[in-house]
């Protein structure tokens, strides 16, 4: 649950705000909810490390008052893996975008999930490459437009959650910038899952994706999230025709499996005791 404005003062580098994102960009909401979840989990700020790649989403850590690392395009999870293994006491969070995470960084995503290393990944998913001006991404739906898909996208979109699930993540959830309170809870649960956790946070990009695809105003795009997202628990009780054209949000997976750094420490312990 979002608790209020002190959150900003307590968790942000106030002199870095306001952020660079466009009017109505959903990223600001999601970034705020990440800090809310950190606060709700009572994490020690000095032990939180936030790592990002390149793109609109990846500018987030610069504003957040933690140990922050803005890396190269797609590589956030690989840098984060190094940080986490070197110092497992750190709570490592990766903030990434749909292009950063699933295109150029796709290999790192599936292997971080497979390895089940205790990193929480929040995908600021706006279905487009925003920083470079609106090219289609691996999560741009078929038939939608981008500056590099002038006749409509013909590539199938990734379902980021299914991808993470299939690769071995122990926590998978999806929220939206509109359903902000639910998003906080999802991130909290992801942080508490000891393993590789991923939250697909559906954002809005009114400037590029919205304009290019005639999605209307910022408000129209927020309303779309409100009307089109359907909670996975609710959807389970509805007949199929009622869920058609909707996308699922909520918690999809929350299990426990051996975690990489813990397994590594076990090896170190077993050597020590010999």
């Amino acid at each position: 649950m979002y608790t209020g404005s002190d959150l900003i003062k307590n968790n942000f580098r106030m002199d870095r705000l306001p952020h660079i994102w466009c009017p109505g960009c959903g990223h600001g909401i999601i970034m705020k909810m990440v800090t809310q979840a950190i606060e709700n989990c009572n994490l020690e700020k000095e032990k939180v490390c936030i790592v990002s790649g390149i793109g609109c989403s990846s500018r987030a850590p610069g504003y957040m008052n933690f140990n922050t690392l803005h890396t190269t395009h797609g590589r956030a999870l690989a840098f984060a893996t190094g940080v986490k293994l070197a110092n497992p006491e750190l709570k490592v969070i990766v903030i990434t975008g749909d292009g950063d995470c699933t295109a150029i960084g796709g290999n790192h995503l599936i292997h971080a999930a497979r390895r089940n290393i205790d990193i929480t990944t929040i995908v600021f998913n706006n279905n487009i490459y925003g920083m470079t001006g609106g090219q289609y991404s691996p999560t741009t739906p078929i038939k939608e437009f981008g500056t590099t898909a002038p006749f409509g996208n013909i590539e199938k979109a990734f379902d980021v959650c299914k991808l993470a699930d299939g690769a071995g993540a122990t926590y998978v959830g999806r929220g939206t910038a509109y359903h902000a309170n639910q998003l906080v809870k999802l991130i909290e649960n992801a942080l508490e899952n000891k393993g590789f956790s991923l939250v697909d946070a559906i954002s809005i990009c009114p400037t590029y994706y919205g304009r290019k695809n005639r999605k209307g105003s910022v408000v129209d795009m927020m309303k779309y999230l409100k009307d089109t997202a359907i909670d996975v628990k609710v959807a389970a009780k509805l007949p199929k025709e009622k869920t058609e054209g909707k996308f699922l949000i909520g918690e999809f997976k929350n299990i426990h499996e051996p975690e990489y750094t813990e397994e590594y420490l076990k090896i170190l312990e077993s050597i020590k005791s010999k």
Binding site: Y2, G4, S5, W21, G24, G28, I29
Partner: protein, 71 residues
């Protein structure tokens, strides 16, 4: 709507507001308005301090805060 934050007042950081209009749309009592692309409260008394404007403000430009000078 419940009013758990009744002791709080609505605050605006005008320089941070980018005029997206999200708070205006989702204000349940319609007391917010964009004037020259900046957010304004049209009727402070009608505000029920529900905090929905703050919740979804992408720019942290509108929020509820305890007003210490008021008492």
């Amino acid at each position: 709507m419940a009013n758990p934050k009744s002791n709080k007042q609505i605050k605006i950081i005008e320089t941070w507001c980018k005029g997206c209009g999200i708070c205006v749309e989702f204000c349940p009592v319609n007391v917010l308005k964009l004037i020259d692309d900046k957010i304004t409260i049209t009727d402070k008394d009608k505000c029920i301090r529900c905090g929905l404007c703050e919740l979804r403000c992408p720019d942290y430009a509108i929020y509820l805060e305890e007003d210490k000078d008021e008492k």
